[in-house]
Symmetry: C2
Subunit: 358 residues, 2 copies
Amino acid sequence: MTLTSDPLQTENLPDRLQQALTVHLKRAAGALEAISADLAPMTEALAALLSSGKRLRPTFCYWGWRASGGPADSDAIVSAAAGLELLQACALIHDDVMDGSDLRRGLPAVHRRVAALHREQGWTGSADRFGEGAAILLGDLCLAWTDEALFSSGMPVEALLRAKPVLDAMRTEVMAGQYLDLVEQARAGGTADSVAQVMRFKSAKYTVERPLQLGGALAGAPPALQQTFSSYGLALGEAFQLRDDVLGVFGDPARTGKPAGDDLREGKRTLLVVLAQQAASDGQRKQLAALHGNPALDGEGVAELRDILRDTGAADAVEQRIDVLTRQARQAVADSAISEPAREVLDLLALAATARSE
Amino acid sequence: MTLTSDPLQTENLPDRLQQALTVHLKRAAGALEAISADLAPMTEALAALLSSGKRLRPTFCYWGWRASGGPADSDAIVSAAAGLELLQACALIHDDVMDGSDLRRGLPAVHRRVAALHREQGWTGSADRFGEGAAILLGDLCLAWTDEALFSSGMPVEALLRAKPVLDAMRTEVMAGQYLDLVEQARAGGTADSVAQVMRFKSAKYTVERPLQLGGALAGAPPALQQTFSSYGLALGEAFQLRDDVLGVFGDPARTGKPAGDDLREGKRTLLVVLAQQAASDGQRKQLAALHGNPALDGEGVAELRDILRDTGAADAVEQRIDVLTRQARQAVADSAISEPAREVLDLLALAATARSE
């Protein structure tokens, strides 16, 4: 086992996923073109969004299939897995509308892009409103296309009927998890437990557990193996979200693609922040309250907040939690009967997704 | 054939649809409850929205089934048909966010309702933003539950696989049609043809053609009958939308449930308005431009606009078009081999949906 290999590249998966995604996109574009040429901006906005991304959910779906004995040379599993990017596209497009975000994956968010079109064309009414409306509709289209992609994957009907309830659960859980996150942020009195609950549905189940189980269901995995995917997925998915939270505060903007301190300016309530609040002295608590969620936070303020998150021991506690969760995930695979190469790849994915220097 | 009977009541359909919808809602509520009690406001908002409505799409779906020889005593078709109300719930919830509407079916729109919850709870951040975010997510849930409802209807797998592409087309067309409507409103230079194109996808296909064809596909209708549903559905759906446009301008608020002149205040570009612009004298055109889409429009302004829509002949032209389309729809059924009682009900539905005094 060599830790320097990139598990994401195994079996040439990224290229195969990209090709399958292109097929899904062409089908969608064809359906829109048949209705009206005026829909071209919708297709273009989606193509731009899908041109990059880590393809985490398709990757876990594929390796759930392989771990369940599914063959490597199946085009159907690659197509089914790639379809999960359409669900992710819906989540991102709608999330950006809800948050009023300007950028996504280094490009203008869909609602900004379409608002710009409105301005270029000199159309009447509010360009921002038009952009938001169009983005809500494009997200809806992507969501509707998610199960269409699964059903057009070329999988046999029995496999589709086994997989559909997993996709159903995944869609309900991610939307419900996002609502719980809105409540968590609004309530502002969260505990480590309530933050963990949001992470479980919004991230762990959605990003790792359900994609693995979807691949497993397509391959006809037995219940014990689906349980292994759950143990691995819930632990790894939470660890992955915690790593993302840490990078959002301490990470290098060149690597994260986000401006330094953006999560702090937004006042995002993560485990890091909740633990710091609990362990803070009176002085630290006041500073935290004054700086966290302050939209005008400058570099000095960011540095002060980072110090509090370190000095209260919150940063160390989160690192320890990531460590424990990553071990749990790896142990679940080690204890299972999953054979190579899936065994090694799942182990490497656990390390890669939670590594400090990602 | 008696025109005084209510075709919507035939075979006790409204009660059966309501029961089936309650089952769908319970399943959805159960899925959310299993995640967190904090999701209760989402279930309550959906239950309130679904407590009323004309159930047009389920009704056409059911009669597409019956017209194709499906038996009246099937619970599965009632369940499958009722599931279309979830797609309609998504469309309404997202539409109200896009339009910033306060009311829906006489109750606060979902985003307003959830914003009020935020205020009651004294939560932090913007209540309006919270309400809009929650409404986008609830609409997403409803959309995801649409095909779940179909698949849990109890229909045999072969029937589901025939019906799924129809549901897929229906979802894509309604979202695409709504985007085309945004463009049509923004461009403000529409023609009778471009307005008809929006009506075709946003209303005619979505409300009548596809629901009928979904019922037909579930029952295994032959292509010729699906073509009859298309001829009937496209004509009737357009007529129905035109009637809605006319009622939006000339209708009695007590019957329409909307304040008089709301469509005129919003500046909604309907065939009525486009035809009036085309036929207007210079003076009328100036008046039209000044009053139509003016949010401060008072009762006098509404009356002035109504006069222009009448005096230019636009109102009469639209009535004639409704008449021609309704005849076309009825003729499609008359020319078909559809047997009773579906034959009479479809004929009565065409009359009821387009009648002046509805």
